[in-house]
Amino acid sequence: MVITPVHYIVVPLLAAFAIPLLTKIYKDAARLIPGIVLFYNIIVSFNLLKYVNEHGIISETIAGWQAPWGINLVITPFTGFLASMVSVLGFIIWLYGYRFKRTLKGGLVKYYEILQMMMIAGSIGVIITGDLFNMFVFIEIVGISAYSLTAFYRGRDGAEASFKYLLIGSFASTFLLLGILIIYTQTGTLNMAQIAERMHEVPQHMKIIALIFFLISLGIEAEMFPLNGWAPDAYSQAPSPTSATFAAVVSIAGVYALIRVLFTLFDVPVNNYLMIMGFVTMLVAEIAAISQKDLKRMLAYSSIGQVGLVLIAFGIGSKLAVFGALFLMLNHAVIKSLLFMTGSYFIYNTDNKKLKSLNGIHKRLPLVSFFFSLGALAIVGFPPFAGFWSKFYILIAAGDARHVYLIVGVLGVTIIELTYYLRIVGRIYFAKEEEEPASHKPSINAIIAMSALALFILVIGVYPDLIMQPLNQAADALLNKTHYINQILSLN
């Protein structure tokens, strides 16, 4: 096998070191190399995903150290699917941000590009690692890149947001480390498969304490209420491609980590916890979103809301629900990136982030407005767009599990969501224009990136069967815990 999961880690790291050097030779290297790396990631992911779907789980041990001592990278249909998704979106976001701030002086763009790439690579690392401590390391990589990117603009607000993120993020790191520590002392291993195998030996109270630490720390990464205070600020202050990355990549990695730990490592029933907290997250986030006056903050709250729904779906726990949750993660990543991309063009053209200044903007930015409206309709879950199917499957799953109040609640919250999204759509198209500032038309690379996402929304909306199979396999792989353990332990 030529392509192995190691490429995920090695290539971006090498590139990250290479960029500063190569920039001396060729000025645009800082721009181009991340794209090449991310594109290579896509090739790797698709090949690996194809392979695991046909031949079963891959477990790659680094430097020949066997588990439990060595670090292993695991590709299952589940992680492979998420890694592919993150790679593709990372690449599209790179494409979108290709001309981002290229005129900025002082070589700042270089750092932006490196950090952005590391953030995406780190997220992939979180997803594919089979080692608990390694996961912590990758989470830290993602976190540090994210803190720096949040403060990229070096303004007061950016610094404040970054500091908040850092503050809460350090809580996450601490508690995660504590959790890992407890697990390690109890099971004597950091390999996730082995931990899972030995978990039943761990005394109940220790298990619960560790679980709580994991819930808190990974809950922060997954933007669960009330641990998500950092998110709106970070999303709204970060550069726009970064906001899209937060929504499409980082939050996905956070949810993955949480789900992996809860579903694979622990054998404690957390379904009700996930459902309730997911619902609370969703409710509070959407309620907060409806009263926002700032577009990016609104989108940020909406992202949190979507994550809440994902958690609900995982909480239901049936095959169909997990399937729906994965579908929703995919949809959320795609649609929310599109919304952040289009939204940032709005902001770029209006000089402030206020919703008011979007009045009648479609005249200046017809294509962007169209994409935004498409995204808005899709994320609320209108058929025939992609967002409908994920919501539909989750609801069917909730129905099968007879969670009546959950269904009514989720749909009720959806009405809130719909209200504020459609208010904006109405504003974009039909409110009276206030003034006519200079127009920044989207660049061609951004148009391609946005069109690709829009096309995905439409095609999957009309013909969801295209991705049913990988999703199905991914859901199976997540739920079949014993298979996972056995495979990894036997492979090593």
Partner: protein, 616 residues
């Protein structure tokens, strides 16, 4: 059958084509949209036959599209009115901005409606229902420059409540009956109130909101009156009938297949809801000064009658409802077109500003007159047949004796706004400003006249509608539905002979016209509307004595207690309170890093404290 999907494809391609044609050449947008709908309708009626079924898999769900008599009946409304509305649209929307957007949404709306009636499984029903909803939302906000925040959104929120109620019901049907096909669900008793009451209730809520049933009607007046009139024709004429389509399906199944005696309250509740809808719609219609709004409220009232008809669940009642559904499409479609024509030619439909258009727009007036007579239910036009069927159904076949009084009150009060509409726009003294006004263009008049003549013909030969309606009723389970071409009869054996009545009226008309009017017509001189005997004083040229303000003030005073029930205000208060309540939650995000850190700690402590409860 591939035919059904090709049909939808025609509309989809039409929508996309028109959207892009508009950016190339604006002149042809409307014509192309019209041709696509015409093509779609011709395709439908030539290639698609009753009994066609198309089964396929999508997203792991079995989907089924098909046509039966019941859906075929509604296709007449959708496609017939659709073709006319688009023909009308060409000139109506000419010169306005964003035509591509307008026509694309228009075609998508029609696609959604066709999809709804051909869906035989719940998932595609819901998908098409939502397509119809958001496409129409795009049209509702087309005109609403300033009011977008409240009006368009109100429509969308209520539609969403309805749609999600329906989705909830669908999810439970899947859970309890393990099917998503409508036919199978009906067989297994999904629409039965006996097993899981909330399923039919949620479904009825979903359909009822589209049909503007109290107390969820508040979206309708604004949405109907603010949309472009050529679209409101479809909106009120056809899309509201999708709600009726669903209610009819649920209720008739319930009445025919199960044990409705135990659930008398269903009938009672729905009937009275329809009755109250009719009364309130009428009462609010007659105090409006904007003709479009008047028609919008009147639509609500008319839909109330249809719901009442369905709620009886008897042959005559359901026949009345189905008949009224088509007839309402005909006359209300025509009336909205009239309002649109006036709007286009004069610039406003405010009845306090417009008057005396009869001599400027005679054909438009003719259509308005005929349609209003049909609306008011005065013989010999089609409306009377609907009223007759409804009353006779309520009196002879249903136990709702007091409901019939309510309905009668509403339809008597409907005379008031009927007259108000005709008088406000077309009669009264002529305005100086409207002297230049011309008759509407021919392409707008043709659809109006077709609809107008339609309601005349149906008045004498209601059998033209009874025939497909009877088939439709048989398709949803009624047995031996009888009908005659121009004879109405109830179960007590009383009849009304419509053709005879028409002939009598017509012959008296001819005689009177010949001997009374025509005989002396040549020698008469037309006197202007200002040469009147108001105490021997002639109005000045700039004066206009037309009685337009507070037209029915005395009635309003007499009925003042009824006007206190303002559903709109109740909903608005609810909305405000909810948002205020939300504000409290919103404050959880203080923007302060320390607070957020505190939340984390508190949450940790809580989890540690209640760990036994949470993770047991």
């Amino acid at each position: 059958m591939e035919m059904l999907s090709s049909l939808l494809l025609i509309f989809l391609i039409g929508a996309i084509t028109t959207y892009f044609v508009d950016s190339i050449n604006r002149k042809f947008t409307g014509i192309i949209a019209f041709l696509f709908v015409l093509l779609g309708s011709l395709f439908f009626y030539s290639n698609i036959h009753i009994g066609d079924v198309f089964v396929f898999q999508l997203g792991g769900i079995e989907m089924q599209w098909g046509i039966n008599d019941y859906s075929y009946y509604f296709s007449y409304i959708v496609l017939g009115l659709g073709v006319l509305a688009l023909l009308y649209s060409i000139k109506y929307i000419e010169g306005k901005a964003r035509q591509g957007y307008f026509y694309a949404s228009f075609l998508l709306t029609i696609l959604g409606m066709i999809g709804v009636i051909i869906s035989q499984d719940f998932v595609s029903l819901f998908i098409f229902w939502e397509i119809m909803t958001w496409a129409s939302f795009l049209l509702v906000i087309y005109n609403a420059y300033y009011k977008v925040k409240t009006k368009g959104i109100k429509y969308m929120i209520f539609s969403a409540i309805g749609a999600y109620a329906m989705l909830t019901a669908i999810v439970f049907i899947k859970e309890h009956y393990n099917t998503l096909l409508i036919g199978e669900a009906i067989e297994r008793g999904a629409f039965n109130f006996q097993q899981y009451r909330y399923i039919p209730i949620f479904l009825l809520l979903g359909f009822g909101i589209k049909a503007a049933v109290m107390p969820f009607h508040v979206w309708a007046p604004a949405a109907y009156s603010k949309s472009p009139m050529s679209f409101t024709t479809i909106f009120s004429g056809a899309m509201s009938k999708m709600g009726i389509f669903g209610i009819g399906l649920v209720l008739s199944t319930f009445y025919l297949q199960h044990n409705p005696e135990n659930f008398y309250w269903v009938k009672l509740a729905l009937g009275w809801l329809g009755g109250i809808t009719a009364v309130m719609g009428t009462l609010y219609a007659l105090i409006q000064v904007d003709a479009k709004k008047l028609l919008a409220y009147s639509s609500i009232a008319q839909l109330g009658y249809i719901v009442v008809g369905l709620s009886t669940g008897t042959k005559l009642g359901v026949m009345a409802a189905l008949y009224l559904a088509v007839l309402h499409a005909i006359f209300k479609g025509a009336l909205f077109m009239v309002a649109g024509a006036v709007e286009r030619q004069v610039g406003t439909t405010d009845m306090t500003k417009v008057s005396g258009l009869i001599r400027r727009m005679p054909w438009t007036f003719f259509v308005a007159l005929v349609s209003i007579i049909a609306l008011a239910g005065i013989p010999p036009l089609g409306g009377f047949v609907g009223k007759w069927l409804l009353y006779e159904a309520l009196i002879t076949e249903s136990n709702n004796y007091f409901l019939v009084i309510v309905i009668f009150f509403s339809s008597t009060a409907a005379f008031l706004y009927s007259y108000r509409f005709l008088f406000g726009l077309f009669l009264g003294q002529e305005e100086k400003e409207t002297e230049h006004v011309k008759e509407a263009p021919i392409s707008m008049l043709i659809p109006m006249l077709i609809l107008g003549i339609g309601s005349i013909i149906i008045g004498s030969f209601p059998g033209l509608i009874f025939e497909p309606a009877a088939k439709a009723m048989q398709a949803i389970g009624f047995k031996d539905v009888t009908w005659q071409m121009s004879l109405l009869s109830n179960i007590w054996g009383n009849t009304t002979h419509l053709f005879l009545i028409s002939m009598l009226i017509f012959s008296v008309f001819i005689i009177a016209f010949l001997f009374l009017t025509l005989k002396g017509l040549k020698k008469t001189r037309y006197v202007g509307t200002k040469e009147i005997s108001t105490s021997g004083e002639l109005p000045k040229e700039w004066e206009n004595f037309t009685f337009q303000h507070n037209f029915f003030k005395p009635f309003e005073r007499a009925a003042s207690p009824l006007y206190h029930l303002n559903m709109n205000r109740i909903w608005k208060d609810l909305g405000k309170n909810t948002e205020a309540f939300f504000g409290f939650f919103r404050k959880l995000y203080t923007g302060n890093g320390q607070t957020y850190a505190l939340y984390v700690i508190i949450f940790l402590v809580l989890l540690l404290l209640f760990k036994d409860v949470i993770f047991s």
